[in-house]
Amino acid sequence: MTLSTSRRNFLKMSGGVLGASSLPLLKIMPVQAANKDVIVAVTGQTINSLDLHRKGTNRASYQVAVNCYDRLVSFGTKEVPGAGLSYDYSKIEPELAESWTISEDGLKLTFKLKPNAKFWDGTKVTAHDVKWSFDRAVSVGGFPSVQMKAGGLVKPEQFEAIDDETFVITLAQASKLTLPDLAVPVPFVINSKVAKAHATENDPWATEFLHKTPAGSGAFKVAKWMPGEQLVYERNDDWVGGPLPAAKRVIVREVPSPATRRALIEKGNVQLSFNIPNKDAKELADKVDVYSTPIENCMHCVGLNYTFEPFQDPNVRKAVAYAIPYEEIFQTAAYGRGAPLWGGPEKIDSIQWPRKSPYFTDLDKAKELMAQSGFASGFSVPFSISLGLSDWMEPTALLIQENLAKIGITTEIEKIPGANWRTAALVEKKLPLHLENFGGWLNTPDYYFFWAYKKGHLFNSSNYMNPEIETLVDETLHMPMDDPKYAPNIMRMFEIAFEDLPRIPLWQPALNVAANGAKDYEFWFHRQLDVRPLKGT
């Protein structure tokens, strides 16, 4: 055979040639663009574990929990104008659960499991497996337990398997967040018989075993995982959690260089490039299909720390808000991808969040406000950004620095290494002027305010504290969205937030995905690739 051997005729000829391999399923891996059964996706991130609950598992690995495991419920799908498909927060759909009921007082959730749901090894998915998996999620600590807590799920005693197909959750407080929190990647259902067989005294939750060997009931199995190189998914034909995926095999290949990823997707050698830079998204838009979905409940913003004296002056804060060159930042740092969050109406008229702030670029107004403040002669302040997020933070900070100098605020840009950023910005909350980008998985404004505007909470990097916000958030967080007090409470929060300005919204970032030979990509709040709906074209 010669150099001209194409992949297609190689595959026709191969058959037994590759006998050396020990993985019979992978002997022939057909991958040309014309083959609809196989989709190849490239990403710059690396998957470091197949078990989301394990300590040290990174974000990119969450996709395994999504694609290989089932939850009790999932979210529906909706169409986003101009950006393809997206999950639908307002619609909860069954995945492993066939149906569920919520007691009158909202404290007891009873789930009926699908009787035909099977794990990959053929055994039935029972309520005992669900109980074991939920116990695990609230017991292992770290991020999984924090996320479970957001839905009011804190201890194993809350979960009960009545019989094989009936599972009951008991809550201490009724909350609108519980059901959506069951649809996030964390509370996935593990084959407890397999896991328990590999549990040890030091590792009762079998994290070492599940780290490399998933045991679930999900739409895809892991056919092969080469850390740092690729993950190969293979369809589970017996999946009952939803419509059977169109692709038989999905290969997720790690390609660190964005330039290489761009060449690959343009050439059509891969069908999907996940999480591409804004610049590529803009430039590729007329060559291949590009989906830029604004990330729900997430915004890039400027943080003004209340412990820094000049920022305690409302006029200074507003001066900064009027000095920011929003449009220029949006075009330079985001290449116009995402949604602008400035120049909104003066009066809050809806509970939409993230929403446009009433501020816009007006240097004269900014100068006027500075003159009225107690710092008319200006001041200097370090402007901190994270090196790990420098792709958008650096251009943004430079543009803001330039305009702040015009109103008498001199800034020096301080770049903090990624490993230190969280400690400095979120834990010690010591950065006077900085950029921040919290996004909440659960898509309600009060959930965002809970994390980012409440005193002492993690993403409140501005040390902000307002007694009215404290009461409003506590009162609203678990309140059903159709409660008559819900909308007025939320709108009042917005008013205070825009008046007090601990965070100045810049824009709502987008998650960019390029497709060339694949369709029906769906955006998810967890910002990882859900390969289940993908279809080859």
């Binding site: 051997t5 891996m29 690396t46 300590k55 790690e254 390609v255 891969v270």
Partner: protein, 341 residues
Amino acid sequence: MSPRLRAILMRLVQAIPVVIGVVVISFLLTRALPGDPAVYFAGAAADEASIAQIRESMGLDKPLPQQFLNYVIDLVQGDFGQSISSGQPVIDDLTNRLPASLELTLTALILSCAIAIPLGVMAAKKPGSLSDQLCRILVTAGVSLPTFFTGIALVYIFYYLLEIAPSPLGRLDFAFIEPDSVTGFYLIDAALAGDWETWFAAFKQLILPAVTLALFTLAPIARMTRASMLSALSSDFIRTARAAGLNESRVTYGYAFRNALLPVVTTLGMVFSFSLGANVLVEKVFAWPGIGSYAVEALVVSDYAAVQGFVLSMALLFVTLNLVIDLTYSLIDPRIGFDSK
């Protein structure tokens, strides 16, 4: 025991303090890195309790001397620890990635030697001639073009425009299955298995990154060959040889070249070692799962075990490499007594 074997053993014994030094320094340096890995790996939404749990599971809650002791005890048992960023035991990562880097670097070096040494010799034979100028241009270009630029330019030309190179997707296109691991070198493993399809596929993937790296390593080798050839050709023994009427090729290759080879081998050793660690950018562009990008990523997130494992394996590699180079010296120049070193 032959004197040579004893000398080699002596050298290995002498390497022990070096390795101990590396173990201590790499431990201290990683601890001196800014940042708290426990906080980083706990994830953005973690609370104090879960960070403390992670710190404990990583053994970072103990005092430094005890951490060091635990590390050394594990190391003696052959346990390099667990990399948190890749989620794998460090030893697995190294055994997977080191061969990938070695295969790339060795191929590149063979390629660059094949070009640089004849070029250097040609340039030295006729200084100021056309071939000398050609050598100068190549050398200057090789040094001044950064590898990520050459890499991307080659991908753009040969993959994107001309479509003759395969997709820059790492060591093997996904249509193929990697050969059973014997050495970890795909070319060797595929040849051992007699699987020439895979061999050819792996070879095609190797060409562009190897050329990129070869262009970069070409410069020091060509420069050094030229310089040492020049000084060799102007030495007394060459004049004597010429006066004795020996023919030109015998003078050039039999006498001058062999004498000029010593500094070239030294340079080769140095080039090999720095390119092994420094081809991070080539690895990134070609999605090559090598050791350089692994180490850099581990360093960025303060993944102690991975950084220490990388430094230690590099140190061991250098010790071996230096030994091999010294052995080569005595082969090239019998006057150099190996055991006197």
